[in-house]
Symmetry: C2
Subunit: 238 residues, 2 copies
């Protein structure tokens, strides 16, 4: 199907291939993260990532062998943005609170982060360092010398952190997805909720709408985190 039978005399030379922009895994991941930050995970396609880097989609397959791998790289990159406490950053509780709060901060900058966490084993170097730091917080804590116990305790904190942030961000996203501002979203869903609540089947939910003050995200997050940490503290003998 050669569609260019023009004579050589008037056929233009091929555009002297403009030195293909040098590429790297790092650049690819940064481009993908930029797209995801701006327009959500749906905006991350190999074509769009390639376009940002002046490359076709197939060019990326030299650096990854699957889109899943790109997502894995994105996750590990974000793990790398979370500062980790050093060995003398306080006691176990301070260290865990530190990791948790900083994780939340980063997850709010990259709203897609927690979405990717569910359903993907995290084996990248930064993810491993993150887990290592969490476990290290339990070094020398009575009752948590057993690594299985430390692992479970940290897993509990981590489960709470991720679950809690997911819920917080889901709410934020739902508002914006419905078009414009928060008010517009609430205007859409509130009447429905009121109708449900009027049935009387949800007395406690009714109180949530009627009485709750909805403390801001950070406050609520810390309150829950303290429940979890209190629970661990309650299991330190002595």
């Amino acid at each position: 199907m050669s569609e260019e039978p023009a004579l050589i005399w008037e056929r233009p030379e091929p555009p002297s291939r403009p030195t293909p922009s040098p590429l790297s895994r790092e650049a690819i991941v940064r481009a993908a993260i930029g797209l995801a930050d701006a327009d959500g995970l749906v905006a991350v396609s190999l074509r769009k990532v390639g376009a940002v880097l002046d490359a076709g989609p197939m060019r990326l397959y030299g650096y990854l062998s699957t889109k899943e791998e790109l997502l894995d790289l994105m996750v590990d990159e974000v793990y790398g943005e979370i500062p980790l406490p050093g060995p003398d950053a306080g006691d176990w509780r301070a260290k865990l609170a530190d990791i948790s709060v900083r994780t939340r901060a980063v997850a709010r900058r990259h709203e897609w982060f927690t979405e990717l966490l569910s359903g993907r084993p995290q084996l990248g170097p930064n993810a491993l360092a993150h887990l290592e730091a969490g476990l290290a917080a339990f070094e020398g804590v009575p009752g948590f010398a057993n690594i299985d116990r430390a692992l479970r305790a940290y897993g509990t904190v981590r489960g709470y952190v991720i679950g809690s942030i997911s819920a917080e961000l889901a709410e934020r996203r739902a508002e914006r997805a419905s078009g414009l501002d928060e008010q517009q979203w609430q205007a859409r869903s509130t009447p429905y909720l009121l109708r449900m609540l009027e049935t009387g089947r949800y007395p406690n939910l009714y109180r949530v709408v009627a009485e709750a003050e909805h403390p801001d995200g950070a406050t609520g997050f810390l309150a829950g985190l303290n429940y979890v940490l209190d629970g661990i503290a309650a299991n330190i003998p002595g």
Copy 2:
């Protein structure tokens, strides 16, 4: 572009439209859940769901206006499968443990469930009933009369439950995704992990691989749940 100019005499009658199978939201959701249970969320496409019901993809748009809505319905349907404790099912702790354990059981039957939870507000009737039951557990508990406090406490439990189950299932899925059995997956990832651990940068992770006994999922889940519940108990005055 009528491609059937045959004369009426030999043109076959249109196949007397075989009474289009009656459809319902319920049937659509069940079909979608069946596909997801069998082959994961990627297997849920409007074409495939339609095919199960002997219908074209566009037929479904009478019952939903978007695929997102189908996913919302699936989530609420699964919520409906979780039995909720009645008012006299024990104290707050028993009720919360009950909800959590049953949620885990259902989430293991529908591995895609937690995947959908992150990133979607849950406003269906069954989801609301679920939340209501969680809040109801705190009725009459000293220190949790304030609905904000009850909401946060339950949110903590819920965050842990979802985060924890997600992690558990992510591991299980990763094993199977890599082709065949658990051994095959570990054979692929273990050498990499060992090389990372040999660097000495992850002393606690090293212990996880070397010393940990990896108690089974249910045991670990309950251990973590007890941390969280202990933490709440520690905040009940008196």
